[in-house]
Amino acid sequence: MLSIILRPIKEAFNGLFRHFSMTFSSIIAVSVTLLLVSLFLMLTVNLQEITSTVEGKIQIHVQISNDVAEPKTLQTRIEAIGGVESVLYSTKDEELDKFIASYGEEGLIFEMYRGENNPLKNAFIVELSDSSKLENVGARISALTGVEKANYGGTNTIKLVNMLTNIRDGGMALVLALGILALILIINTIKITIQSRSNEISIMRTIGATNNFIRAPFVIEGIFIGFIGSMLPIGLSIYGYSYVYTALGGVLFTAIFPLRAVFPFVLQLSYLLVLLGITLGLFGSFISVTRYLRGVR
């Protein structure tokens, strides 16, 4: 009874070593595929990280006219505009605090504007749910009565938002290209496997082996190839990502573009790659053998 379980495992290892060149090229194919997948994951995750961080920082600073007695009504009207995520009220005193704080030690000089002399206005800090609507929302807020000025950094901010959209689109195109490349690699590997094994499979069937009996060792071989094949991309990903992260100081060009921290990201990536490798090996070999078996009687 034990031999029913042990036989295909033994058989699989025999196959792996006796067909070493085939095994080796399959492992390389899996490695290259997973390396592409890993690269794609690192890119997407960081693009996501950067764009969401930047977008979270984009806000509209709305100065309110001193004539407005009831800011609550105005706040409700701003909140009603599409694309607005949240509206925070900030009194002119709080505005002065922020102003002074932004100048550090030297800011203390502005303390003399405290109270009656405060030239600043009460304000709303508006955060957006969709940064691409920045210009539109800014214009609509400006048009409201009681609003003195709606500041969103003007064309520069709009340029930044457009650039982020472009980066994301470009990244997605790259990711798609990598995905297609990976798929072609997998299909090719499976094709080669079928060709090199078709004779063997048909002989087994001719002697009287059932489909499951024929398939089992091939599937175990596939799982093993997938497992081993995932080791190289995991090593390269952990080393490569840590290296790039440290070299860039955890950011891309400026602190506005932070990268995803090395841990636990690389560990999650590693688990995913092992799982993908095994799944790829399992289904790849299962499909290739089954497809061949369907053709023979």
């Binding site: 002989i203 001719t206 082996a209 489909n211 009687r297």
Partner: protein, 236 residues
Amino acid sequence: MIKLTDVSKTYKNGVNALYNINLFIEQSEFVYIIGPTGSGKSTLIRLLDAEEKPTKGKVEVSGIDVGALKHGKVPYYRRHIGVVFQDFKLLERKTVFENVMYALEITHMDPLIARQRVREVLKLVDISDKANCYPHELSGGQQQRTVIARALANKPKILIADEPTGNLDPQKSGEIIQLLERINVEESTTILMVTHDIGVVNLFKKRTIALEAGHLSTDIKEGGYIQHAEHHSQTD
């Protein structure tokens, strides 16, 4: 044992391989099947081996309607017939011992008993000394013996041999036939041997069935087919 009733076979490409074949072979018979290339010998074997289904008629082996076998049942059927293929069909990545062992492993036989049986059949066909060799390290005759050993491993009721002496010199051919005769007598195995070797047909007289262009042209129970057979061998 083997019964063909009005069997015809037309391939998908339109080639008519067999026409209305009626044939009955009893348990423990030893039968030669001869005929020129394209006469339908290979198709007959493929029908018996369940590789092909008859277009018309019925192929019965040990009471099983071979043409009606479902895909999943075919492997189980094949374990009851041993086939010695002309092109050997040995697994290149396995040794002689493992090739024979494979035929027993598929039946989930206890490994200890199976190994014992492999040693027996290897001894029977006189190839024990090559047990650990791979097929590419063997001569044609040695590969032929390995295939016979594999076909015999499961103690089949029927052994089909497709040109088993095709690649051998006359002395080796004689040895193979004597081996088949011994199996035929000692194990009561029905033997169906496809051959071009007229010397063999002449020397070891057995029932001889001749196929010609898909028709069963002659069926001589007592053998002795020299003249006619030579004619066929010349047409090949």
